[in-house]
C-alpha cells in the first residue's frame, strides 16, 4: 500500500506486543466481513464477539473502531492495517460510516481553526487577557518561591535523608507546583523523585537535577534580563505552553523531507506522552513532535518510524528549538537511502556543547551518528556498551543490553539514531546494510 507501511511499521503502531500479535492474527481476509479502501481511508468490519467497524485515515493514520477496547489503536485497527499489507482490494467509494467519520474529522480541524480565529478577531478584552496572564505569573512565582524554600531545606538537612522519604514527600511538592500552574517544573521534580537509591551515583545526580531546578527558578525571576528566545525556552520549561494553533501560524516554518527516526512513549500519570523524533534530509534539522493522550486513547496523528514524508513543520520559539508541530504532510511512506548525521563523535559533542550553552535545561538531544561501531567492551559480565567512531572516540550506550544493535552491525560501522540523555545514547534505530530498522528497548 502507498502509505509505505511494512509489517514492522504496523507492529510499531500497536500500543504493545500483545495487541500487535492479536492484530496480526486478525490480518487475514476471513476475519473480515467486509473491507475496502479509498484514496483517503481504509475500513473494514471485523468479526469478533460482535461486528466492529474499523476505519483508518490514510493521511495521518488516525484510527477509529467501534470496539470498547481501552488500548488504542486496538487490535482490530492493527489487524486492518496488517490485512492491507497482504491484500490489495480495488479502490471503491467508502460506505457512509466511513465518510461520516472523515467528514467529522475534517470539520473538527476547520472548526478548531475557526474558533481560534474568532478568539482573535473578537479579542474580547485584551485587558482581561493580560490580567489573567499576570495572575498566572504571580501564582507561578509563589510556587517557585515555595519550591526554592523546600529545596533549601532539603539541602540543609542533607540529601541523604531524601533516600528514605516516602513518595508523598515528592508528591506533595509536585502537586503544589501543578496547582501553581507550573506543570513543567512538577514533571521535572517527578523525574527526580525516581533517583534516590536507583544507582550508586544517585546523590550526585539528584544534586545536579535540583541545581538545574534552582537555576530555572532563578531564570524565571530574572525574565527582564533574558533575551527573547531564552525567555521563551524558560517559559516552555516551566510549562507555560503555547497553543499548537499559534505555533502553526507563527512558528518558524521548515519544509523538508522528514525522516521519522523513532518514537518513545512515556506514561506521565494519567497521560501518555509520545515523543517522535524527525530529521530533515536537506536541512539536517532535528525536530521533536510531542503528542499527549489520555491513557488508552489514540494519538490523533500517526508516524511510521523508518519512513519519510515531505512536508512543512513549524517550530516552537526558543533558544534552541526542537519541539515542532506538523503543518502539512503529503505522500510519505518512502524508504530512505542513508541517514544524514554527525560524521564523528567529536562533531556531535561540539553540537551538544553549543545546544547546552544556548538552552541549559535540555534533557534530551537527538543524535544521528554516521559510521560508528557498537561494541561490548569487556565482555557481558559488567561489560560496557559503547559506540566508537573511526577516530577511536567512544560514547556509552544507555539503558540495558543492545544485542540486536550489535547483531545488526557485526563489528562494522553503522549509522545510528539515538536520544542523548546527557549520559548515554538511547538507540532509536540503526541503518545497516542499506536498511533502517527501529530498535526496541532491550531489557
Amino acid at each position: 500500500m502507498d502509505a509505505g507501511l511494512t509489517s514492522e511499521g504496523v507492529a510499531a503502531l500497536a500500543p504493545d506486543e500483545k495487541v500487535a500479535a492479536a492484530g496480526r492474527k486478525l490480518g487475514v481476509p476471513k476475519s473480515w466481513q467486509t473491507h475496502g479502501r479509498s484514496p483517503e481511508a481504509l475500513w473494514g468490519e471485523c468479526r469478533g464477539s460482535a461486528v466492529y467497524q474499523v476505519r483508518v485515515d490514510l493521511s495521518d493514520l488516525a484510527v477509529k473502531c467501534s470496539c470498547p477496547s481501552r488500548k488504542q489503536p486496538c487490535k482490530h485497527a492493527i489487524g486492518l492495517l496488517f490485512l492491507s499489507l497482504g491484500t490489495t482490494p480495488s479502490e471503491t467509494s467508502s460506505p457512509d460510516w466511513v465518510k461520516d467519520w472523515l467528514a467529522r474529522r475534517a470539520a473538527r480541524t476547520t472548526a478548531d481553526k475557526r474558533s481560534k480565529g474568532r478568539d482573535e478577531a473578537a479579542a474580547p478584552d485584551l485587558l482581561a487577557r493580560e490580567k489573567r496572564e499576570k495572575k498566572r505569573l504571580s501564582r507561578i512565582s509563589a510556587g517557585l518561591d515555595s519550591l526554592d524554600l523546600w529545596m533549601e531545606n532539603l539541602v540543609r538537612g542533607g540529601l541523604a535523608a531524601a533516600g528514605t522519604q516516602p513518595p508523598s514527600f515528592w508528591e506533595e511538592q509536585a502537586k503544589r507546583l501543578v496547582d501553581a500552574q507550573a506543570p513543567g517544573i512538577a514533571a521535572r521534580l517527578w523525574r527526580l523523585s525516581g533517583l534516590p537509591n536507583s544507582s550508586p551515583e544517585w546523590p550526585g545526580k539528584l544534586l545536579d537535577g535540583l541545581g538545574r531546578l534552582a537555576l530555572l527558578s532563578k531564570a524565571f525571576h530574572r525574565f527582564d534580563v533574558l533575551d527573547d528566545p531564552l525567555a521563551e525556552s524558560v517559559r516552555a520549561e516551566i510549562g507555560i505552553s503555547l497553543p499548537q494553533e499559534e505555533i502553526r501560524e507563527r512558528g518558524e516554518r521548515v519544509d523538508d523531507r522528514w525522516i521519522v527516526l523513532g518514537q518513545r512513549i512515556d506514561e506521565e500519570g494519567r497521560l501518555t506522552v509520545r515523543r517522535t523524533w524527525l530529521l530533515g534530509e536537506d536541512t539536517r534539522r532535528y525536530a521533536l513532535v510531542l503528542q499527549f493522550a489520555a491513557a488508552g486513547s489514540p494519538f490523533a496523528e500517526g508516524f511510521v518510524s523508518g519512513t519519510t514524508w515531505r512536508g512543512e513543520i513549524a517550530f516552537y520559539p526558543g533558544a534552541y528549538s526542537l519541539r515542532a508541530v506538523v503543518r502539512s504532510r503529503s505522500g510519505g511512506g518512502d524508504r530512505f537511502e542513508g541517514l544524514p548525521g554527525y560524521e564523528t563523535v567529536e562533531a556531535f559533542l561540539d553540537h551538544t556543547s553549543k545546544a547546552t550553552a544556548l538552552q541549559p535545561w535540555l534533557e534530551r538531544l537527538p543524535a544521528a551518528l554516521r559510521g560508528v561501531v557498537p561494541l561490548l567492551d569487556g565482555g557481558p559480565e559488567g561489560g560496557r556498551w559503547r559506540i566508537r567512531d573511526s577516530a577511536g572516540q567512544a560514547l556509552p550506550i544507555a539503558g540495558g543490553e543492545h544485542w540486536t544493535l550489535l547483531s545488526m552491525s557485526g563489528g562494522r560501522p553503522v549509522d545510528l539514531a539515538a536520544e542523548w540523555n546527557g549520559e548515554g545514547l538511547i538507540p532509536l534505530g540503526v541503518a545497516a546494510a542499506g536498511t533502517y530498522r527501529i530498535l526496541a528497548e532491550e531489557g
Partner: protein, 524 residues
C-alpha cells in the same frame, strides 16, 4: 564523591560547602549572601550545565573484531516476518519446522533475529538454531557466555570446559561427545576425581550422546561411586549397551524372575486359553544388585520395594531377549502377562521397550493399556505411558484404532504426545474422523469432556506438508441455546463446549495457514 556533593548529602547544617575552582562558581556572587543553601544549589546547577556542555568522548577503547562475511544468503523479508512471529509466540513445533526448512534451503537467519533465536527457551531447538546462525550468529554467540552452546570451534570449547560454569561445561561436553566420544571421556576422566557429586552425575549424563561399548569400563567403575545419583546415571547408561557384563548380569537375574512360559492352548471345548508366564520373585536382593539398578531407588507410590526391583531389572533387559528365550512374539508375551504380577511385568517391559527402542513391543503394550488403562493405574501415572511410548508407536495403527474404536482420552493424549511429522495415513484418517465428529457435536448441541478437543492443535502442527492443502475443516454455523427467565426475557447463547470448539477450529486453521505460508516463503 566530590566535596560539593558531600556537603549536600551531609547537609549544610553540618558541613560548610567548600570553595571550588570551577569558572562557573563566580556567576552568582551577588546571590551568595542569600544563604549557603541557595548558593550551593545554584553552584550545583551551573556546574551540571558546565559539565554537560564540556562532556568529552572516551578514548582508548579497542575496535572490535568484525564478523566474517556471510557465506549464505538470508531468508526473504516475508520469511523473516514469519520467523519473528514464531519466535515471539514461542511456537516451538512450527519454529522447529521453519528452522529446518531454512537449513535445507541453504539460507540463514537475518541478523535482526539472531538475539531472539539465540535466546530460544526450548533447548531442543538449539541444534536447529545453530545450523542457521550464519557467520554473524556465531560471531555474536561468542560475545555472550549464555550462548556458548552455539559456538563452533574446539579451542573455545576447551576454554569453556576448563573455566565455565557447570551448565556450560556439560553442554560443551555433550558437543564434544557428539563428534568424538573418546575425547569427551578423556576430558571427563582428567577432572573426574575433583568434581562434586552433582557435577559428576550431570556430566556423566552427557555420555548418552554417542554412547559406545568403549564407555563400558568407565561406566562400570562409576557403578561403585560414592554418590547414589552418579550410580543411577551409570546404570541408566549401561543398560542399553549391548553385550556388556552389566547386561549379562541382569539378564541372569531376570531369567530367575520370569522362570517359564506356557504358550496359549486350545481347551476342551475349543476355548482358547492365553499363554501364561511363571513369575518367581527373588528371595533376596543383595546390595550389589540394588546398587546397579537404573532410576529412582525408592519405589513410586503404591508399589513395594521388591516389585520395584523387578520392574527395574526387567527394564535393563532388551525385550527381544524374551522373544528369543520363549520363541514367541511380543503380542503373545504381552497377552500372557496376567494375574498377580501383571502390572509389574507390563511396567517393566514398557520401560524396557522405551529404553531399548523396540517398536515391535510398543504397539502391543500400548493396545493393552488402551483396552484397560485402569489396571495399570496403580503403578505409574497413566498419562506418563503414552508420553514415553509415543516416539515408538506406529502411526498407521493409531489411525486405524481411531477409525474403529473412536476417540478416547487415552488416544487423544497419545496423539498429543506423538512427535512430528505424523504419517500421511494417520493424518488422513484423523481428518476424516474429525470432519465427521464436528458436525455431530454441533448437531447434538451439548458435549462435556470431549476427548477430541485436545487434538486439532497437535494435528495441525504435525501433519505432513502433503496434507496441508486439503486439511481445512469448515466452521459450523452458530448453534444457539435458549433460556427463558421468569420475567419472560429470553437469553440466546452458544454453549461453552461449542464455543471452545469454534476457538479450536479457528486455531487449527490459523496453524495450517501459518505452515502453508512457511512452505511458500521458504521454498526448497
Amino acid at each position: 564523591m566530590d566535596a560539593l556533593t558531600r556537603a549536600a548529602v551531609a547537609g549544610t547544617s553540618r558541613e560548610t560547602p567548600p570553595a571550588s575552582a570551577l569558572p562557573t562558581d563566580g556567576l552568582f556572587e551577588s546571590a551568595a549572601g542569600k544563604g549557603s543553601e541557595r548558593d550551593l544549589l545554584l553552584r550545583a546547577g551551573t556546574r551540571a550545565v558546565y559539565r554537560a556542555a564540556g562532556r568529552l568522548a572516551e578514548s582508548g577503547i579497542e575496535a572490535p573484531q568484525p564478523a566474517p562475511d556471510e557465506t549464505l544468503p538470508a531468508c526473504s523479508a516475508k520469511a523473516e516476518e514469519l520467523l519473528r512471529r514464531l519466535l515471539v509466540d514461542q511456537r516451538t513445533t512450527i519454529l522447529f519446522e521453519a528452522l529446518e526448512r531454512l537449513r535445507l534451503a541453504g539460507l540463514r537467519l537475518p541478523h535482526v533475529l539472531l538475539p531472539g533465536a539465540l535466546n530460544v527457551e526450548h533447548e531442543e531447538l538449539r541444534p536447529a538454531v545453530a545450523a542457521v546462525l550464519g557467520e554473524r550468529g556465531r560471531w555474536l554467540a561468542r560475545l555472550n557466555p549464555e550462548w556458548a552452546w552455539a559456538v563452533g570451534d574446539d579451542g573455545d570449547l576447551r576454554d569453556v570446559w576448563d573455566e565455565g560454569a557447570l551448565k556450560e561445561r556439560t553442554s560443551v561436553l555433550r558437543r564434544v561427545r557428539e563428534r568424538d566420544p573418546a575425547l569427551g571421556r578423556e576430558w571427563l576422566s582428567e577432572t573426574w576425581r575433583q568434581e562434586k557429586a552433582d557435577a559428576r552425575s550431570a556430566m556423566l549424563e552427557a555420555f548418552e550422546e554417542n554412547l559406545t561399548p568403549e564407555d563400558e569400563p568407565f561406566l562400570e567403575s562409576s557403578l561403585g561411586d560414592r554418590s547414589m545419583k552418579v550410580r543411577a546415571v551409570a546404570a541408566d547408561l549401561l543398560a542399553p549397551l549391548p553385550g556388556s557384563a552389566y547386561a549379562r548380569r541382569n539378564a541372569e537375574r531376570a531369567d530367575a524372575i520370569i522362570a517359564g512360559y506356557e504358550p496359549p492352548s486350545t481347551g476342551l471345548l475349543g476355548r482358547r486359553r492365553p499363554g501364561k508366564l511363571m513369575v518367581d520373585l527373588p528371595p533376596v536382593v543383595d546390595e550389589g544388585w540394588k546398587r546397579e539398578l537404573p532410576g529412582e531407588a525408592s519405589p513410586p507410590r503404591k508399589m513395594g520395594q521388591k516389585a520395584w526391583t523387578v520392574v527395574r531389572t526387567l527394564e535393563v533387559v532388551p525385550p527381544v531377549y524374551w522373544e528369543r528365550r520363549f520363541r514367541t512374539t511380543p503380542e503373545e508375551l504381552v497377552a500372557a502377562a496376567r494375574g498377580e504380577w501383571e502390572a509389574v511385568l507390563l511396567t517393566g517391559w514398557r520401560r524396557a521397550a522405551v529404553r531399548h527402542g523396540e517398536d515391535s513391543w510398543t504397539w502391543p503394550l500400548w493396545r493393552r493399556w488402551h483396552e484397560a488403562p485402569e489396571t495399570q493405574h496403580d503403578l505409574t501415572s497413566t498419562w506418563e505411558l503414552p508420553r514415553l511410548l509415543a516416539p515408538l508407536l506406529p502411526h498407521g495403527e493409531l489411525g486405524r484404532s481411531l477409525r474403529s474404536n473412536g476417540m478416547s482420552h487415552e488416544l487423544a493424549y497419545t496423539l498429543d504426545a506423538l512427535p512430528r511429522p505424523w504419517d500421511e495415513e494417520l493424518s488422513l484418517l484423523y481428518l476424516e474422523e474429525l470432519r465427521k465428529h464436528v458436525p455431530r457435536t454441533f448437531a447434538r448441541n451439548r458435549d462435556v469432556g470431549d476427548p477430541w478437543l485436545g487434538t486439532p492443535q497437535p494435528a495441525a502442527e504435525r501433519m505432513p506438508l502433503s496434507c496441508l492443502d486439503h486439511a481445512s475443516v469448515p466452521q459450523p454455523d452458530e448453534v444457539l441455546s435458549e433460556r427463558t427467565f421468569s420475567d419472560g426475557q429470553v437469553l440466546r447463547y452458544e454453549i461453552l463446549p461449542l464455543r471452545s470448539w469454534r476457538e479450536k477450529l479457528e486455531k487449527f486453521e490459523e496453524t495450517l495457514e501459518l505452515r502453508r505460508r512457511l512452505v511458500k516463503e521458504i521454498p526448497l
